[in-house]
């Protein structure tokens, strides 16, 4: 089992290294993702944001504009995620009034036998 896990880990690393060879040099302003137009001719999202963030929302911080406006729905989802986490903690951790079997090892033992 351990060996399989090691192999998985190694292949994971190898795949990553292999993939990284295809990436453009870091910081290269001409990389596909930084271009004004994508190879297929659609808008390059990133440069669109840089150009139009202030014009669209009168806000200097582009990240805020993207976060709350351009991709606001993602942020709503993100809030929902954290709300979900809160609900789960409530659900999982709050003690139930009726269920106290962790204080009654005898009963748990009886359950285990059946």
């Amino acid at each position: 089992m351990k060996i399989v896990n090691w192999l998985l880990l190694i292949s994971f690393g190898a795949l990553l290294i292999y993939a990284s060879l295809g990436l453009p040099n870091r910081g290269d302003g001409d990389a596909v993702m930084h271009r004004e137009k994508s190879p297929a001719g659609s808008w390059g999202a990133s440069s669109y944001y840089i150009r139009n963030a202030y014009r669209d929302a009168e806000t200097l911080n582009m990240v805020t504009v993207i976060l709350a406006d351009y991709r606001g729905y993602d942020t709503l989802g993100e809030e929902t995620v954290i709300l979900t986490a809160g609900l789960i903690c409530y659900l999982v951790l709050r003690k139930r009034r009726t269920n106290r079997d962790d204080k009654k090892p005898l009963k748990a033992g009886a359950d285990a036998q059946t």
Partner: protein, 81 residues
């Protein structure tokens, strides 16, 4: 962009990551993990992602650290590995 700082920070980052995984005292591991988060926040900032760095500093070094400590107080401090 100062790539020398970046490289140095990366070395620290990897070291803290390894320490926090290998140290047996969980509380120490968590403290190291906070340091890890903080260093990564610095790297984000160096890379120009101030927002992300800010968040990581607040969350990773702050809130997650506190949660981890609570976890350890609720459970046990020793770890087998």
């Amino acid at each position: 962009m100062y790539w020398e700082i970046e490289a140095l920070l990366f070395v620290f980052l990897i070291i803290t990551a390894l320490i926090s995984l290998y140290i047996k005292d969980l509380l120490a591991a968590v403290v190291t993990l906070s340091a890890f988060s903080f260093i990564s926040a610095l790297i984000y900032t160096v890379m120009g992602a101030i927002d992300v760095g800010f968040t990581e500093a607040v969350v990773g070094a702050g809130v997650t650290g506190i949660f981890f400590v609570v976890l350890i107080f609720q459970t046990s401090r020793r770890s087998g590995d």
